[in-house]
Subunit: 109 residues, 3 copies
Amino acid sequence: MRLAIAVVQKQDAADLVAALTERNYRVTRISSEGGFLREGNVTLLVATETESIEPMMRLIREHCITRTRYVSPLPPVADSGEFYTPTPIEVQVGGATVFVLKAGQMLRL
Amino acid sequence: MRLAIAVVQKQDAADLVAALTERNYRVTRISSEGGFLREGNVTLLVATETESIEPMMRLIREHCITRTRYVSPLPPVADSGEFYTPTPIEVQVGGATVFVLKAGQMLRL
Amino acid sequence: MRLAIAVVQKQDAADLVAALTERNYRVTRISSEGGFLREGNVTLLVATETESIEPMMRLIREHCITRTRYVSPLPPVADSGEFYTPTPIEVQVGGATVFVLKAGQMLRL
Ligand SMILES: Nc1ncnc2c1ncn2[C@@H]1O[C@@H]2COP(=O)(O)O[C@H]3[C@@H](O)[C@H](n4cnc5c(N)ncnc54)O[C@@H]3COP(=O)(O)O[C@H]2[C@H]1O
Ligand SMILES: Nc1ncnc2c1ncn2[C@@H]1O[C@@H]2COP(=O)(O)O[C@H]3[C@@H](O)[C@H](n4cnc5c(N)ncnc54)O[C@@H]3COP(=O)(O)O[C@H]2[C@H]1O
Ligand SMILES: Nc1ncnc2c1ncn2[C@@H]1O[C@@H]2COP(=O)(O)O[C@H]3[C@@H](O)[C@H](n4cnc5c(N)ncnc54)O[C@@H]3COP(=O)(O)O[C@H]2[C@H]1O
């Protein structure tokens, strides 16, 4: 038994959850936020048999795409009056970040 | 040390959390959503000694009940004009789904 | 690879997340609630190499402080008419509670 924890972008979450449940995966969805961009994203919990992890990863790759975001770096502590126009920095937000943990037990009570 | 992650129905969460904290369990509550029914549910985190897992399961069994939900399947891509009355399908939503993980360390900082 | 799950107080979360991302940790933030005080707190997920766990703990210690909360115990089932003035009980809410799990795999898809 493995517990997969997948952090995905909001835009991809609904399609991915639909694709997973269509193939009989059980999924729990949790709203979360990225620490760096401070934008909303989605954390999925999927407990499944070990041999179903690989096909699950393929589904995630198919439904989650990498996007580029432009972030303005925080202005330096500027002298008053100086007009600060930051050059936005480019940040790649991946399709998904997935952690796979060994779940000793899984019980349906 | 074990970390139990329990997904329970909203209706049972408050009573279960009260029963757990009365018996000195420490509990963190996270709002979540089921992937299939897309209804709100609750994910509980409970880190506890290994020998306290069994008594915790008994508390979960006592406070979480199985419910039947009727869901209308999505209409097939119908021809226009056809009046589609789906027969609802019956879905059993369990009392609780619990994953138990080995927590190597637990620190109170 | 380790997955750290840290439950911290709301007041400390923003500073801690900023300090972690400044030092190149990747962090996911989830809103949660304490089972006992039923107050909002924050659950952080940080997956990182095993040797980065110790320096992360130092950052958590620096940014999370213990606070004292006064809670009124629930009134006993009183006789009607009796005026009940509870003596508040003092509860120490720690800086942070951290669970460290072995993450078998971590994939960026
Ligand atoms: N400290 C830092 N310094 C410089 N650049 C940084 C950074 N932290 C993140 N980034 C960059 O910003 C993107 C968004 O990160 P965010 O923290 O908002 O949102 C993250 C976070 O919520 C989660 N995540 C990724 N790796 C994680 C890990 N090891 N542990 C916990 N959560 C993780 O997945 C989301 C997307 O991550 P992804 O790696 O695709 O994309 C990341 C990465 O390219
Ligand atoms: N292995 C696992 N990994 C992660 N989370 C898990 C899980 N097993 C259960 N859960 C969580 O527990 C809730 C209740 O599951 P239960 O199996 O009792 O009751 C389920 C089950 O009887 C049925 N169901 C779930 N997924 C299905 C699927 N792919 N195909 C057919 N029926 C499904 O619908 C009920 C409600 O499911 P929903 O997804 O809304 O909500 C699920 C989900 O949030
Ligand atoms: N083993 C564990 N598993 C899962 N989550 C855990 C945990 N240990 C701590 N937490 C989380 O961390 C928060 C702060 O816990 P702390 O032990 O510092 O501070 C706690 C503790 O001093 C006390 N407390 C908690 N549960 C208690 C109980 N059952 N009986 C008596 N005192 C309790 O009240 C404070 C606030 O607790 P609250 O539940 O509102 O909020 C908790 C809970 O959300």
